[in-house]
């Protein structure tokens, strides 16, 4: 990160007064520059393509193309853009969907300036940001859910077949039983298991099970 380079930000919110407030606040902050604003999802995507910002800050509730779809589209663009969603308290489900779509952080709409700046600088470094002024209820929902970006990353690591086998190993099925259920040869199952363990960087089935539970690839409640 170059020292004198300002972080280029685009803000999307359907409230002009809110946008103005943001522009005022953030342009005063050192190291941050707002290069464009948008008042709905379509505009946001167009601006992102045009201005190639480092960060996008977007409200989720806007008329027209919704925030989540915009996030998804921007996540699919060539240049990497850190996306932060602005949400209200009862948006726990929506926030989760935003992460699934590619957002890296969120702040609540009544967050103050220092928090917003913190979020921008954190996500700019490629790190996940969650709001400090949020209720713990939202946090619990997100970390538990399949929307936790750390967990999503894990899920992408394994192919569907590998995930099936991980589950079955955790349920204490033998290679033979797995082979029968999946209609594979035992050799194939063992090969896949080795591949799985290599990806996990573990050396025993116990290690595999621990990894799977920790990363929510296996839900222990199913076993009880």
């Amino acid at each position: 990160m170059k020292l004198n380079k300002k972080i280029k930000v685009i803000i999307a919110d359907d409230h002009e007064i809110y946008r103005d407030g943001m522009v005022n606040l953030l342009n005063k902050a050192s190291g941050i520059e707002i290069v464009a604003t948008a008042e709905n999802g379509q505009e946001l995507v167009a601006m992102a393509r045009k201005y190639t910002p480092d960060i996008v800050l977007t409200d989720l509730r806007m008329p027209g193309l919704d925030g989540i779809s915009a996030i998804r589209l921007i996540a699919g663009l060539e240049q990497p853009i850190g996306q932060i969603v602005i949400s209200t308290y009862d948006d726990a489900q929506l926030i989760g969907e935003a992460f699934e779509a590619g957002a890296l952080g969120y702040i609540v709409k009544n967050a103050d300036t220092s928090e917003i700046i913190n979020a921008i600088k954190t996500v700019y470094q490629g790190k996940f940001y969650h709001c400090n002024t949020s209720s713990s209820r939202i946090m619990q929902t997100i970390t538990d859910s399949r929307f936790n970006p750390m967990i999503i990353a894990q899920n992408r690591l394994f192919e569907p077949r590998e995930k099936d086998i991980i589950q079955m190993i955790c349920m204490e099925n033998s290679s033979k039983e797995i082979a029968k259920t999946l209609n594979l040869s035992e050799r194939s199952v063992d090969g896949i298991r080795r591949r799985i363990m290599k990806k996990m960087n573990v050396h025993s089935l116990a290690g595999l099970t621990r990894y799977a539970i920790r990363n929510k690839l296996f839900d222990i409640r199913k076993f009880q």
Binding site: D14, H15, E16, I17, Y18, D20, G21, R61, N110, T113
Partner: protein
């Protein structure tokens, strides 16, 4: 030379950034000043008590006593304070509640910023203010509700021709059509339309419809 008294305004919204934008906007007006800010309904009541503003602008959804609850109390305890309600586009029902409780006007938060100043000026004149982006659906609901800012006020004198024009406008006929039906030039009609709007104190079709319904000039077809 003593400076003329600035109009004292209190704003309430739990979004700090929105308050900042609003404050910035209003402070630019030479004859207005913000004397208090609140992020909860409770703080709003305290501000009104302490500062005795002429007008408040308040969001309807806030923690610790909502804007609606605060309006209910303010109307009773401080009946001369004018109230403009703010709401997001997907909470229209709250606007109707606010009006029924005694707010004189409302703005939907994604309105362009110039509208806020216009709303303030309108409400200070004693007229109701309906946000320009009011949907026909909301206009209908307001018309159907108990909210009637025109009762207990001296009636607006309208000629028969003016009433006819209002009726046609409520029916969403175009200027050309109305001009033809009445038998006047389009220019004359346009001028009359502006005059009517000035007389009544509305700027939007929604406002016109609400006025017309409340005055019994027009009835919205079901």
């Amino acid at each position: 030379m003593q400076e003329p008294q600035k109009i004292k305004i209190v704003i309430a919204d739990d979004h700090a950034v929105f308050r900042d934008g609003l404050r910035f906007l209003i402070q630019r007006e030479k004859n207005m000043e913000i004397v208090g800010e609140a992020a909860t309904g409770r703080d709003l009541l305290l501000c009104v008590e302490q500062q005795q503003p002429r007008l408040i602008i308040t969001d309807l959804v806030m923690p610790l006593l909502s804007g609606l609850e605060a309006i209910r109390e303010i109307v009773v305890r401080f009946p001369t304070v004018r109230i403009i309600a703010l709401s997001s586009f997907d909470h229209e029902q709250l606007i109707i509640e606010a009006l029924k409780m005694g707010a004189q006007g409302y703005i939907i938060k994604n309105a362009p910023k110039g509208e806020i100043i216009h709303a303030i000026r309108t409400v200070l004149q004693g007229l109701p203010y309906y946000c320009m982006s009011t949907t026909p659906d909301l206009a209908r609901k307001i018309s159907d509700s108990d909210f009637n800012p025109y009762k207990n006020k001296p009636g607006v004198e309208l000629t028969e021709a003016e009433k006819r024009i209002i009726l046609f406008l409520c029916e969403e006929r175009k200027n050309e059509e109305i001009a033809k039906l009445i038998g006047m030039s389009i220019r004359t009609l346009e001028r009359m339309r502006l005059q009517i709007q000035e007389k009544i104190g509305v700027r939007s079709l929604a406002g016109l419809v609400i006025f017309a319904v409340k005055q019994g000039i027009y009835r919205i077809p079901s």
